[in-house]
Symmetry: D2
Subunit: 345 residues, 4 copies
């Protein structure tokens, strides 16, 4: 940490800052500039958490230098991690696709969707049994019934099941039915949920919060990992900006940022990221080209009858077309040395 003093900070102010640093067992080093003094802190910065240095007199601001997450950081784990869900590898050679309806609406709808998803070549079936909705009057999901249908659809197709868990009480139940737990954007900083999900054995798909920084997102992953679960996959799903044409602004560069900062796999959800089915195809291709480890996409047997997120759901035909393209693009990327990414990392 570097502490920048005010231009009018007194000698006593600086001594107080140094004393506070030393009092937690760290070393302080002062640098004198033309107008301002700077105090550098040397040693394990974790201890500085208990020194509210910005509240001390004469302090202009402090700048954190080391990152607050460790288990999620590439610095301490240089090789990229592979998260295994049964026999499927996320973060390996082949991009993984998770597809399905936004919400499980009925047994029939889910089975039909699952067949389409399987047919197109995805490895995961997605579908919400518990739906976090802005309004209490919107469809809230089939809950346990929805989980049962998901498990049945898995039997039927061999697809892995990923589904969202929104409350601690439901974790155990969801674990019985799902292969992978999803933490939704609205719960990315529901720390109680993160801690408990970290204690169950299942791999976790952690969506980026609506307005979360990359740093906060990796800290959320750290919560899960710190509770004992190293199997975290990150999912970029668009962030909130002033732009209203798209539902969210898909932050494609987050893929490259995560690959640089962390060893965890990262996938992209262009359906929520854009909110428009027309944009899913170009953004899916872009994600693969940017080095994403996979995709999450909404597909519905009949989007115009979907109870949730119809406008961003693909028809079966569009979905199949995109899956073919993804396969071709991914193989080409792998075969062509000039398209290799992150070699310099």
């Amino acid at each position: 940490m570097v502490i920048i003093m005010n231009t009018d900070a007194t000698e006593q102010n600086i001594r107080d800052v140094i004393d506070a640093i030393v009092s937690v067992g760290l070393e302080a080093k002062v640098m004198e500039g033309a107008h301002q003094k700077i105090v550098g802190v040397i040693g394990d910065k974790g201890r500085m958490a208990s020194v509210p240095v910005e509240a001390m007199e004469g302090v202009e601001k402090s700048v954190a230098i080391s990152k607050s997450y460790k288990l999620a950081s590439r610095e301490f784990h240089p090789q990229s991690s592979i998260v295994r869900v049964g026999d499927v590898e996320i973060g390996g050679e082949v991009p993984v696709v998770m597809a399905g309806p936004c919400a499980v609406e009925s047994r029939e709808q889910l089975f039909e969707a699952a067949d389409i998803v399987k047919d197109g070549g995805a490895q995961f079936l997605r579908g919400g049994a518990y739906k976090p909705r802005t309004s209490p009057y919107s469809f809230q999901g089939l809950e346990e019934k929805g989980l049962e249908y998901l498990a049945e659809a898995r039997e039927r197709t061999g697809l892995k099941v990923v589904t969202e868990v929104t409350v601690v009480e439901a974790i155990e139940r969801v674990c019985q039915y799902a292969d992978m737990l999803q933490i939704g954007a609205r719960n990315m900083q529901n720390f109680g949920l993160l801690k408990e999900v970290g204690k169950c054995g299942k791999p976790v798909l952690l969506k980026r919060g609506l307005a979360a920084t990359i740093d906060e997102w990796l800290n959320a992953a750290e919560y899960i990992m710190h509770s004992g679960n190293p199997n975290v996959v990150l999912c970029e799903r668009g962030i909130r900006t002033y732009e209203t044409y798209t539902r969210n602004t898909l932050d494609m560069s987050a893929v490259a940022a995560i690959k640089h900062l962390s060893h965890l796999p990262v996938i992209v959800d262009p359906s929520h990221g854009t909110g428009k089915w027309r944009m899913v195809k170009p953004m899916a291709f872009a994600s693969i080209a940017a080095g994403a480890d996979g995709l999450m996409m909404e597909v519905h047997p009949n989007p115009s009858k979907a109870l949730s997120d119809g406008p961003q759901s693909l028809t079966p035909e569009h979905y199949k077309g995109i899956m073919e393209g993804i396969g071709k693009l991914a193989s080409f990327m792998k075969s062509e040395p000039s398209l290799r990414l992150f070699d310099e990392e």
Copy 2:
């Protein structure tokens, strides 16, 4: 709801949209423009939730017209509500102040803070026993011990206690010790928590989410009210923007927006809203002048030793000065007819 068709929508597309509307018992009316057709939906728009009209062919976009919240809306409840916490009225004649440390750190710190808070004239003692923190390595709060200290401080001072609840499992326990439950910004769309908090009898302070729209915030209030709890107070605490000088951007206009859209009381938290203690005074005065029903402020016996949020905590002296100003300003606002707000509502 108004549905705007593409310029190249076919007659069949329009018929399909009309059929979908009629199928849920609503009436459709078509308006023909020079280049585009518009379909208006008449009747209870709640039913449209199950018609994913934007996914239908030929549809450009749909525009919601009626609001999705009802219990929180001033349209259906024109008089301003007063929320009573014991003998304290929030939304009444006198602005209410909730003050105290960000986190309960020790019995001594809390008692000292409570005495200062009481002395300055606030009605509520605030203090976090459960702290949602970005990093798992930061101080997470004293938990139940913290609640006990809060209850003791109440005994000692007669102040009401407001404190945050972050997980469903803790609601019952927090209810035993607190007079008012706080839902923090990160949990504003933790719908499971909102529903359960709606079932307990205690009044709720609902902070605005980090990047929540006013509409989403009122829908979050609707969740609590819909579960049976009408005693909701809203708290503006700054929103996330590109500006980095302040910790958040305090949206002062949200006070006026809430007063127009809703009958619920609204208070302002300038400590989190700005992240800088120097800004608390001018923003506290501005909040009162804008018509806020109260304030939440962080005060710490010794901010430079605070375990959390030191840079935005007031010293006892600053706090007392601000309290005096608030009292003077609020009386003057009330006595002076030209400063009356919201008369036209």
Copy 3:
């Protein structure tokens, strides 16, 4: 400037960074942490502008410490500045109000507006002769005719005239007619315009850019001051955020930030800041309570016939009511010691 090296930076990397610093005549000081090294730069940081240190190998990031603006900074000019426009003082004891229609639409409309503005007690008449509009098909202003009407209205009422200049070619002409030049939000970083406006003798009202940081805003003021014109008044007019209920998000805390960082006067425009006339009154009062040196407000003889910005224009009645309130509030603020702001600065 503080330069933070990567955890895997080599000794050679650090030597290269030091050499680059020394080569522009500055001194470098190395601080060794547990995992990372930090290089501090001592001396006039202006010279570092020519050292692209973040592009050097082994560098993680650099952090600027001193501010890039000087003439606008309170650090080098501790007393608050007063900008004089004729006999009107901005930044003095009394808040200054600039009111009038968004655009000059006709001689009649402007005269009627000017009489209302005068009557209510404002010191300045505002009104756009050159209107920057999103679409080329919107009303673009009366241009020189508009300027003439403004000058006539000044004759008639004795009000000062402030009006926007959007292109370098028009500066001379606008100077002939106006008492103060306005730089609009969309031109805040039109550096060519800033430089030229800095050369004319007239005081300048500099609106904050749509998405400008406070730092960029003060740097824009620096451009004008650096060209020889110290008479700059800042105007907060709302920033662009994800919130759609208001036209912009009025950043009330910018008033306090500017008062801390700069000696220049700052006023607030709640009409553009909110986009809704209903919100002008509470936000005007809040601005005064927050310590603003004045207000800019849109008032129109008949807002429902305005060619531009009708929804945010006040009727004559509302305007007069607000003016009365502002006067009362400002006197009270001044008379009451506990409401004094910025004493601690």
Copy 4:
């Protein structure tokens, strides 16, 4: 346009709205809902610009339906446009690359850069002679000298030259030296400049504003086209969000949005879009996969000595590697039917 009335609007309010619509020669149609009435406007909506309907009593809000830009819209020009700069086609079969240093720093630097750019296979040399900089104390560009060097570099290499024009007075001079004029992000709504650039014969590269919506961006293009210049190429360069890890947030979905809404070519600038050279490669590949018509990238003979934007400049080696990848990826995209985009448009 659709006008939504308040729930408590009177019959007279509705009649007034209808009268206002009819008074500009348009037709109004009323739709009665359960709680609210809606008024639809039929006919050329351009005329509604002069009816400030939101300021009328009883009006809740109005919703624009038709777009305000026409010449830039795909609705009125379904085929994609190709912009020709000499013998280079932008928007054609092959993606176009514009590369070079951020700023022209010296004859030697530019020539060296130009040789590298040419060698790698780009069609355009970019380089700023006039640099808009946040601080007046930063390097402002070599101005006319810079233009001369650019023209010399063109002679030497045969590359086309694209360079920024920041003030009206410089347009003529820049036109003498450049093949294509660039409007920078900070000038996207400098309407005076747009109009004048629309009158010169040169093709224009229009960068998206720092916080411009897609709608505003296309309206800016409309200004240029409306002044007589149809040869506009759009350039996505990242937007301003709360995320601080990247310099801007590259809005990759804007490529797909523009392709849907407009017939104009669109390219991507991953250098400014991310601010980090490490991210240029993945974002360049993603842009091509998303269907961009080209790229703008910063390359510098020696980024660690660049006077501007060093951290985001590529070394010659990185640049060549990326160019090879782009070529391979673009050919593959074209050859593979499943990777074709925008067929459904």
